[in-house]
Amino acid sequence: MIKRIIAIAAAALALGLTSAHAQEVKVGVALPYTGIGAEFAQLVDRGMELYLKLNPDKVKPYKLTLIRRDVKDPSGANAKIAVQELLTQDNVDVLAGWIYSPNAIASAPIVTAGKKLAVIMNAGTAHITNLSPYYVRTSISMWHAGYALGEAAAKILNAKTAVVGYTDFPPGKDSLAAFKRSFEANGGKVIDEIPMGGAGAVPDFTPFFQRAKDKKPDLFFVFVPAGDHAAAVVKTYAALGMREAGIKLIGPGDITQDTKLQAMGAAAVGLITMHHYHADLDNPENKRFVEAWKKEYGANTTPDFMAVGGYDGMAAIVHIAQALKGKIEVDAALEALKGWKFASPRGPIMIDPVTRDIVMNEYLSEAVMKDGRVFQKVIGKIDGVKDACKEQKIGPCASK
């Protein structure tokens, strides 16, 4: 009797699984849901969810199931385990996530061995996409903003000297290299490079900033991870009187992350950033996106570039689900994504068919006060920016 019940149950389960399989796409999400990256994980996660909620007609008839695994920290080790479990225990069809570059770097061999498409939604170290043929990136390369800003710093801001302060982990070094290369190619000079602690904890920035101030540069270029690092940077910059000393603070948009910007208040005014997204961008897709976000998650919340990385990443996954009719096979998925175009809240984007990295606009913005809030005013725009590191085959970007 019991045997028969088990047999029937097993049959039913098998049936259920196969019928579900045709319609269901399992997306394995590796994000730091707890620990220092928890806030970022929430942003990317909400971005993914919001795409699914806003576009039910585009998702039909498929059902995208998110299977979440916590990667905890930027160490790489835990992310590797999480990705392996998603592949071997949860049998996911597609992988997604990655806030921190060290995690994406550590996961690369597993992704390659698992032969599943992996959509990077944040991690920005340039050469990551070279580490596995199955990585596709819908966020950024550090070179997008860093390289563009180096040129803008010399040509638009007319700066001669700069000090670079960076968080001492792969994207920080990348950002330094990108900025330095284009700034010096355009006649500027980087007079000091200051590593400012790791990504795992926010340091007290005072000693590093004091050093930068003593060097009296025209510009202080800072790359730190968005979030609490960024909030501390802006605070320290204001408290040390660097603005009064005539030193402009510039950097990729991590330092003016939308979620932190209003809390920075007047201290943020005058910051100049190069980035591919902020919530104040004026285009119809972004208006719709921001409005839907506030409706879904609260009027006091705001999406930011991380949320857009998740949103666009989910759009890419839905695109391949449709293109491959729900049966995700990695080589076909890559073919379907190469040259894929999408009207993102950040403006038009495309996946570069050669590098599997993103091609997008970069916006030069200045933080100003408008209607009692900090507003990011676009003062320059560069269309269709590719990852300069891979374009010019620099360092580790040259392989493959």
Binding site: G35, P195, P203, D204, T206, A231, A239, M264
Partner: protein
């Protein structure tokens, strides 16, 4: 002159950072010295206090100073309850049990705050008179750092007087030096423990609020600065207010100077230095040589 300004800015920055370390760590040192209890949840009390202060300012419009008092009182009260209900059961237990218990408590604190308030950093807005720069004659410096140094000096003076000149202070010193003797002289050790524990946690809360400008404030605070607090206590010696004070200043200034002048390795130097120091003097730089 340029060197003088450079040096002064380094000293001010380092001393201010040291003051925060002192305010948070002093409670840890005293409770450790007094009870021999390794309270790894001490950073958790600093975090809870910081949150109480930040949230009171944000949601109930408390002024910075009122919020600091509120944070102190609330955290002291909460910790007194925890001490009676939980810690007291483990005073006789193995050190491993104590460590496991307190580290578990830290995780629960982190998880509760993440759940109730959220994972994000809590901005703490300073009153206008503490923002910006202040002119000190030879240099302009961050007003808040200068204020912190002043506050730190006041606190250490009050604590020192309290320790050296009051009956309660004498009882605590007696219990640190020889607990059994103190007990047989009729000092109510259990009551003393609760009072010092609550006071130490209250100080941690104060440090959490005062230090938020430099160290930020998020649920992970409870763990991420614990190493620094423990280094200060280890270097300063257990149960010594003045020891902790000098150790905190030393570490604050050294850490600041190394980060400023040798940023390439500055963040690691402080750990290497602590190891060397403890190899040389296991009882701490300012600790009494134990029998």
């Amino acid at each position: 002159m340029i060197f003088g300004v450079d040096f002064a800015s380094m000293l001010l920055g380092g001393v201010a950072a040291g003051m925060v370390l002192f305010i948070v760590s002093v409670g840890l040192s005293v409770t450790m010295g007094l009870m021999g209890f390794v309270n790894l949840a001490h950073g958790g009390f600093a975090m809870l206090g910081g949150y109480a202060i930040a949230l009171a300012m944000k949601h109930w419009g408390f002024s910075f100073v009122t919020a600091l008092v509120f944070g102190f009182v609330l955290t002291a009260a909460v910790s007194a309850v925890l001490e009676r209900a939980l810690y007291a059961r483990l005073y006789g237990a193995d050190e491993l049990d104590q460590v496991l218990f307190t580290i578990g408590l830290v995780f629960m604190m982190i998880a509760s705050v993440t759940l109730l308030v959220g994972p994000e950093n809590q901005p703490l807005t300073l009153p206008p008179f503490l923002r910006g720069q202040i002119n000190l004659g030879i240099i302009q410096y961050r007003a808040y750092s200068v204020a912190l140094i002043a506050i730190g000096i006041v606190i250490v003076s009050v604590l020192w007087l309290g320790f050296e000149r009051t009956r309660l202070g004498a009882q605590i010193r007696a219990a640190v030096d020889n607990r059994r003797m103190a007990e047989s002289l009729g000092i109510n050790i259990a009551r003393l423990f609760t009072i010092t524990f609550a006071f130490g946690s209250g100080m941690a809360a104060l440090g959490g609020g005062l230090g938020a400008e430099f160290l930020g404030l998020d649920p992970q605070y409870a763990l991420k600065y614990l190493v620094y607090f423990l280094i200060v206590v280890a270097v300063g010696g257990l149960g010594r207010v003045s020891g902790v004070f000098w150790a905190a200043l030393l570490i604050g200034v050294l850490d600041f100077a190394l980060k400023k002048y040798v940023p390439q390795g500055g963040t690691a130097f402080i750990y290497a230095l602590s190891i060397l120091l403890l190899l040389w003097r296991p009882q701490g730089l300012f600790g009494a040589r134990s029998a």
